[in-house]
């Protein structure tokens, strides 16, 4: 007997992973949570049937969503992570001594419990032996409404823009993030993929809404094999620091942080996105960076 996990990347494209066994399956108050064991990718977590992370390639996502802003902001101390109940982003943040506090806002406590039990590779840090994490199990949109001028960095480590993560792709959410950041704060978000039409549409919509709240908005990319098309984007929205001009290769190298994907070269290269992506972004900006790049 063969057991395969299949996710529809579009109506006409499927992605399948051979599974050895299913370790966990339960419908929480918010979503279906499943954990599988596979020969190729190790253990992996799915939410509502969508691949969230695998042990084999999660380092790419978590390093890129964390080290890029951390290498730009010169002294990020107070960090807010929205979503991210698997712990991967927190694990990367804890590599920085300058980080004083991490507020983790995850709507679904069960995700944290399941990940701590089955995915210690990312979630073991959530035992909070560092003493730096504060947990808030609530809707991110609700949490952020009450914050103002508090954070140096906000990382929006969300699911897709449907299901429980829906509210984290809205203009009211990005506006509230702007308010919650200090005057030199940075917001980084999971920004979907530019490739398949539906994902590209979600990506454009997110960009359009972020541009409404932040003056400096860029996207950067990474290659994530288990996400649809493999080509994935992150949003970099900033009140003050420029993602490349304020990035100090030397300062970051001196920290001596070990990474598998992220390097200062990758950092720089990641912001040079393909032509069609520039076009998609410029199409939804009233008068922004990507428009200028396209000579419009």
């Amino acid at each position: 007997m063969e057991l395969w996990f299949t996710e529809n990347h579009t109506k006409n494209v499927r992605f399948s992973v051979k599974v050895t066994k299913q370790l966990y399956s339960h419908r929480s108050e918010f979503q279906s949570i499943d954990v599988f064991e596979s020969p190729e990718f190790g253990r992996f977590l799915t939410l509502d049937g969508y691949m969230m992370l695998t042990e084999k390639d999660e380092f790419i996502y978590h390093e890129m969503i964390t080290h890029v802003p951390m290498a730009v902001h010169p002294h990020a101390e107070n960090i807010l992570v929205i979503g991210g109940g698997d712990g991967g982003t927190v694990r990367e943040l804890l590599k920085y001594d300058c980080v004083k506090s991490i507020d983790l806002v995850e709507i679904d406590e069960e995700v944290v419990e399941v990940c701590m039990k089955y995915l210690p590779q990312t979630a073991s840090c959530l035992d909070n032996s560092s003493g730096k994490i504060r947990f808030y199990f609530e809707d991110g949109l609700k949490y952020i409404r009450h914050c103002s001028n508090m954070y140096d960095l906000i990382i929006v480590d969300s699911t897709d823009p449907f299901g429980p993560g829906e509210g984290l792709f809205t203009m009211e959410f990005y506006g509230n993030c702007f308010k919650a950041l200090k005057d030199d704060g940075i917001m980084v978000n999971q920004h979907e993929s530019p490739f398949y039409d539906e994902d590209a549409f979600a990506m454009q919509r997110a960009h359009k809404r972020i541009v409404n709240s932040f003056d400096m908005c860029r996207v950067y990319q990474a290659h994530i094999p288990t996400y649809p098309s493999g080509h994935w984007l992150f949003g970099f929205a900033s009140k003050k620091y420029h993602p490349l001009r304020d990035f100090s290769e030397k300062r970051w190298a001196e920290l001596g942080i070990e990474t598998k994907y992220y390097t200062p070269h990758v950092h720089k290269g990641a912001f040079y996105v393909p032509a069609y992506v520039e076009k998609l972004l410029s199409d939804v900006e009233p008068d922004g960076y990507y428009k200028k790049l396209n000579g419009e």
């Binding site: 809707d139 609700k142 409404r145 429980p164 509210g167 809205t170 203009m171 009211e172 506006g175």
Partner: protein, 520 residues
């Protein structure tokens, strides 16, 4: 099963139709009748129209009747769009399905079940919206030259019905809350004054509640009106849930009102355009049916009727739970919105025992003027910038309609968006128009004015003339001017301000509301 719907029969004996009653206003006190007991024992689990449609599907009848799409086969594009299950039940009246104009079987049963659920003597299925229910209600109660007492903040459908039947409006000034700029309910003393001044009036109309959730003291008004041989007609377009929720304001039928138009498709969950007309024990329901049949279609939609049937069953069985949840969603939203600052989401604290006798806590009405933004401006920003569609915005208020279909996370979005709008757009509020009640000067009956010889003038040059048409913001659809009323400078200024703030104005023949028809 009735035991599961506390409130539906609270306090009152079950009304029943007095078969001997001839005219509409031949008052007899309803006494305990056998039908009452029968209704209590009705099985609200049943949905006769829905059941008949389900049976029909299995009969595989060959249709050589209308509609011509023949269960969808003749219109593939529409069937792909709406779905085959929808098209299969879009059928015509036939023996197994009864006939809306003259119900004798399944529609009759369904209407009886609805009457039982609402605590009415009779319930009519209406397929032309609550507009048609309101019109049938007015047409049933008054005729040419009859006076009818009503608050000025009635829906346009009430005045439209007066154009049709020639009744004469006697307006009761609904008190206005100066801070919120909204019309309230009628004071009982004001109703009494109108009754004393117009003792031959035939009926009193009550909004139960207003669009904003404000209730008059309907029980006292019923008592007063009945003492003077007048009928009480309730516009319950926004009050379906009063019949099914716990601790709700009084529903018209429970308060002893004679006829009520109830928008099942608003808080009741049925399809748009489906509605109930309810009658009490003093009213001859056969007469009401005749009036309904004057204007209602003879091809009643079974989509609409089955939606009424299924929704009535759902509310009868689950209404208490459903409306408890809505109330708690709204009260959460209200607390959070009030915490933002400058917004005022109001509720029962407004209750003053008279012009605000009660307040419907399921309504999420938010006063916005202290942010320096008109309600309509917040309404527009919510839609344009935040992809959130609310029910309406007026000069000073925003109304978000919260219902059985809402999710917690959507409530969070609304609250967060309001908080953001305040952060981004808050400005000084000086110069914002304080709405006040404009006492209408009725110069002609709506019917006389509507059909009179008239000429078209630019609105700004129409002061001192009598208008022959409506001007209103829609929603809420409450007339600023109704046919037969004197146009004043104050009204012209209000219309200009409403336009400037982006309200959709309609009612005039001139689609841009630049010109207005006035009497020659």
């Amino acid at each position: 099963m009735i035991g599961q719907t506390p409130g539906a029969f609270a306090g009152a004996s079950i009304p029943c139709r007095n078969a001997d009653m001839q005219g509409l206003r031949s008052f007899t006190e309803p006494d305990a009748c056998p039908a009452a007991k029968e209704k209590c024992e009705m099985d609200q689990n049943r949905a006769p129209v829905y059941e008949a449609l389900t049976r029909l599907k299995t009969m595989r009848i060959v249709p050589f009747d209308v509609p011509g799409h023949k269960r969808g086969r003749g219109n593939k594009e529409l069937t792909d769009f709406l779905g085959p299950r929808c098209m299969e039940v879009d059928v015509n009246s036939m023996k197994p399905l009864d006939n809306l104009c003259h119900p004798v079987s399944v529609i009759k049963e369904a209407e009886e079940l609805a009457a039982g659920a609402f605590g009415a003597a009779h319930a009519f299925f209406m397929v032309g919206g609550t507009t048609s229910a309101v019109q049938s209600m007015i047409l049933s109660a008054v005729k040419e030259g009859d006076e009818i007492i009503l608050p000025r903040n009635v829906h346009r459908s009430v005045i439209n019905a007066m154009i049709l039947c020639g009744a004469v409006p006697v307006y009761v000034n609904p008190e206005t809350n100066a801070r919120l700029g909204i019309s309230l309910g009628m004071r009982v003393s004001e109703v009494e004054r109108a009754i004393m001044e117009h003792p031959s009036a035939k009926a009193v109309v009550v909004n139960n509640p207003t669009y904003y959730g404000i209730c008059s003291d309907i029980r006292s008004i019923v008592k007063l009106a009945h003492e003077h041989n007048m009928l009480v007609l309730a516009d319950e377009a926004h009050g379906t849930h009063f019949y099914f929720g716990k601790d709700m304001p009084a529903a018209a039928m429970h308060a002893g009102a004679d006829i009520a138009a109830v928008s099942m498709h608003k808080s009741g969950g049925s399809l748009t355009q489906s509605s109930f007309l309810l009658t009490g024990p003093r009213v001859n329901s056969d007469h009401v049916r005749q009036m309904i049949n004057l204007t209602q279609t003879t091809s009643g939609s079974y989509l609409l009727m089955s939606s009424l049937d299924i929704s009535r069953r759902n509310l009868a069985l689950n209404g208490v739970r459903i409306f408890d949840r809505i109330r708690s969603l709204v009260s959460y939203a209200r607390e959070e919105i009030n915490e933002i600052g400058d917004y005022y989401a109001y509720s029962r604290e407004l209750v003053n025992g008279d012009s605000i006798f009660d307040f419907d806590e399921t309504k999420l009405s938010v006063h916005t003027l202290d942010t320096g933004l008109a309600g309509i401006e917040v309404y527009d920003i919510l839609r344009d910038d935040y992809d959130i569609q609310t029910e309406f915005g007026d000069m000073g208020n925003l109304l978000a309609y919260v219902s059985v279909g809402d999710r917690e996370k959507d409530i969070e979005r609304l609250i967060s968006a309001l908080s953001e709008i305040r952060r981004r757009f808050k400005r000084d509020k000086t110069g914002m128009l304080e709405t006040e009640y404009i006492n209408p000067m009725v110069m002609e009956t709506p019917r006389t004015a509507f059909y009179a010889d008239k000429e078209q003038l630019p609105i700004e040059r129409s002061a001192g003339r009598v208008c022959s048409e409506f001007v209103m913001c829609y929603p809420p659809g409450i007339p600023i001017l109704a046919p037969g009323e004197l146009i004043t400078d104050q009204i012209i200024a209000y219309i200009a301000y409403a336009k400037e703030k982006g309200c959709t104005l309609l009612g005039t023949e001139d689609i841009d509301t630049e010109l207005i028809n006035v009497l020659k």
